[in-house]
Amino acid sequence: MNKVLLLKFGELFLKGRNRHDFIKLLKTNILKKLHGYECRLEETQGRLVLSGYQEQKEDEIIYKLQQVFGLIAVMDAKEIDTSMQSIESEVLNIDLGGVKTFKVSTKRADKTFSMTSMDMDKHLGEIVLDKFSNLKVDLYEPEVTIYVEIRNNGKTYIYNRLHKCAGGLPLGSAGKGLLLLSGGIDSPVAGYLMAKRGLEFEAEHFHSYPYTSIQAKEKVIELAKEISAYCGKIKLHVVSFTEIQEQIHRCCDSEYMITIMRRIMMRIAEKICEKNDLGAIITGESLGQVASQTMQSMNVTNSVVTLPVFRPLIAFDKEDIMDIARKIGTYETSILPYEDCCTVFLPKNPVIRPTIKRAQELEKNLDIDMLVRQALNDEEVIEINNY
């Protein structure tokens, strides 16, 4: 008998001819995640099997696997050579102390095995009942389900615990984008959700020293580290926005301050994308959350770029976003009270329905190309890898 981890992946099945590539990528990601752990990873029809690891590290390994997109569950299983006798004895070995109801669920991939899945369920159920007379079978809501998977490779896997994983698609299967990372609650969550759909990304942060603090930048680095556990290596581009903000403040209507700021941020983002071969811009915007996130505002800021802008939180309530932030561990960092870039020159009454025409008029007062170029020249790049 060997202790192994059975890894279950979801949507990859649907990907037709790409399936092979997806699984290959998933395996690469798993091995990256488990870098430093001794283990073996093999594929058997629709499952990955992780074995050869130190048993006392199992909890740590499961914790790490739960951060790998593409996996939907991890089961800590016992692997035995297929035979009725060994299956029976392993099933009877399962600790059912304190349990009142159970069921057995058999999957027989190996059609040469003598009994059908249903017959096995009944048979194994009976021998469990014989041994533990106080137990009852409940097919609908059992406290414990004993899973028996009889595989083609001559092995049977027995388990009764499922550890839910993050789901989604393997990181990297959808290409690479650029996340605008502000330091608030939303943008790390946006990055997480896009990574869940397989998109890797680099990140961009705007700071306005001395209007914002070094701590605000450190906070963003910390956030990038936190999501990097799910989203892989992140190249963080830190761009100074001080000069640009001061110029906008001097030359433009205060109510359009944020609109123009965001238009320039998008332009800088697109330049970074061009330079680094990134195919989309990701933001944490949510419709109607603040003045700059109305439909009209998004239209005006979107109109300066041609790359697709992904806004995975567009229809999320703040509460729902906060729930995800707590789940992925970014919430506590996000609420640290440092000034972020957007609040320093915050006008009292930002425009809610800006127009492209007016924004373009105001921008005539600025040498935008020069400002963008200058900001990019002073860009600082920080490599973050906490995968």
Binding site: P210, S213, E246
Partner: protein, 372 residues
């Protein structure tokens, strides 16, 4: 670097470093052990307590050593709470380590009164009078405000206590006053007085609570029963001795005069349009400045770039929480976010003060030009 955030913490005296060595490497014994060497250490701690009581001007009482002033304040307040229909009185200008404990008592169902502040930042004694009665169990009022430097009159407060609720316990958070403001506990009815080492050039991680009647206090946690069972846990011997060293080196009266002079020098040098000096006339060690049209945090960062370190007090979270104390004093939101806390120490030179003032004026002019 010119450091003007001494209310946050101070630079440790070199002599304290030496003391740390002595009591960590030579006389490192556990005071609770039975060896003669341990007994020597116990005597050193007792000697320190006696010395501190003298410095506090207390004729009776003991010193309990804690890990920080927050712990001292928690011990003082929670250790005085009793079952029954008691009432607890706090000034609304208290530091979070008192204020949030009071809020917690309120949540837990105790009757808690918050006494408003007067325009000069001190606790309004007319209002205090109104809430004191025979049910008052505890009065907790800070000596010097960490935000404004406002100085509460402990003698007057003591008189009110004696008149309206002689049995109540009077706790004073003295963190910004200890070894800075000349006073004698014996002239007051203070029962509990919190102080901290790192605000007076001693180490972090050591603080104290003066306790007049240790029978009236309950411990926060259980353990080996050290320090009259009021604060179990092995005493931070080196830290306590460093605290003593720091106190030995300080001449309160002389320092007070010197800092008063430095503060006036500083104020005169800041004669610039747009810089509002809020001097509440209390402790000379703390001054509040407002930079009209510019955020305090922006000033802080820009000043640090020029080598001047200032503080924001609890205004650092102006965006989220607002500064409770300045709000209480009636300042507008814009004024509050433009404020910076300046705090001096007695070992600064006149030229440092003048340089700092000059840099502050220049930086303010520069930022004002950029944002307006």
């Amino acid at each position: 670097m010119i450091y003007l955030d001494n209310a946050a913490t101070t630079k440790m005296f070199d002599e304290c470093v030496q003391t740390f060595r002595t009591y960590s490497c030579d006389k490192f014994f556990n005071p609770s052990a039975l060896s003669i060497a341990s007994m020597e250490v116990t005597k050193n701690i007792l000697g320190t307590s006696k010395f501190l009581l003298e410095k506090l001007g207390a004729n009776v009482g003991d010193i309990i050593y804690t890990g920080c002033a927050t712990e001292s304040n928690n011990l003082a307040i929670k250790g005085s709470v009793r079952n029954g229909v008691w009432e607890y009185v706090f000034s609304s200008g208290e530091h979070p380590s008192v204020y949030n404990v009071a809020k917690k008592l309120e949540q837990d169902g105790c009757v808690v009164h918050f006494v408003p502040l007067k325009n000069d930042g001190t606790c309004d004694l007319d209002e205090l009078k109104k809430v004191l009665n025979e049910k008052t169990r505890l009065i907790s009022i800070m000596h010097v405000s960490n935000e404004t430097g406002a100085l509460n009159d402990l003698v007057e407060i003591s008189k009110l206590k004696q008149k309206f609720c002689p049995k109540a316990i009077l706790h004073v958070d003295g963190v910004q006053a200890f070894m800075k403001i000349p006073f004698k506990l014996s002239q007051t009815s203070v029962d509990l007085y919190s102080f901290s080492a790192h605000k007076i050039h001693g180490p972090k991680g050591v603080a104290g609570l003066y306790v007049k009647n240790k029978g009236a206090l309950k411990e926060l946690f259980q353990g080996g029963g050290q320090q009259f069972n009021l604060r179990s846990g092995t005493e931070n011997v080196a830290g306590i001795m460093q605290l003593k060293t720091a106190v030995e080196l300080i001449d309160v009266e002389k320092n007070y005069e010197k800092v008063m002079h430095l503060k006036n020098l500083f104020k005169d040098a800041l004669n610039v349009d747009g810089i509002v000096i809020n001097d509440f006339g209390g402790s000379p060690y703390i001054l509040n400045l407002m930079f009209l049209g510019v955020k305090g945090e922006t000033m802080l960062h820009a000043l640090e770039e020029k080598g001047v370190i200032v503080g924001l007090g609890s205004a650092c979270s102006a965006k989220k929480a607002g500064n409770r104390i300045l709000q209480e004093l009636g300042f507008s939101k814009d004024e509050i976010i433009s404020s910076v806390r300046i705090s001096f120490n007695a070992y600064m030179t006149e030229s440092e003060i003048l340089d700092a003032a000059k840099i502050i004026c220049e930086v303010y002019a520069d930022i004002k030009r950029r944002v307006q």
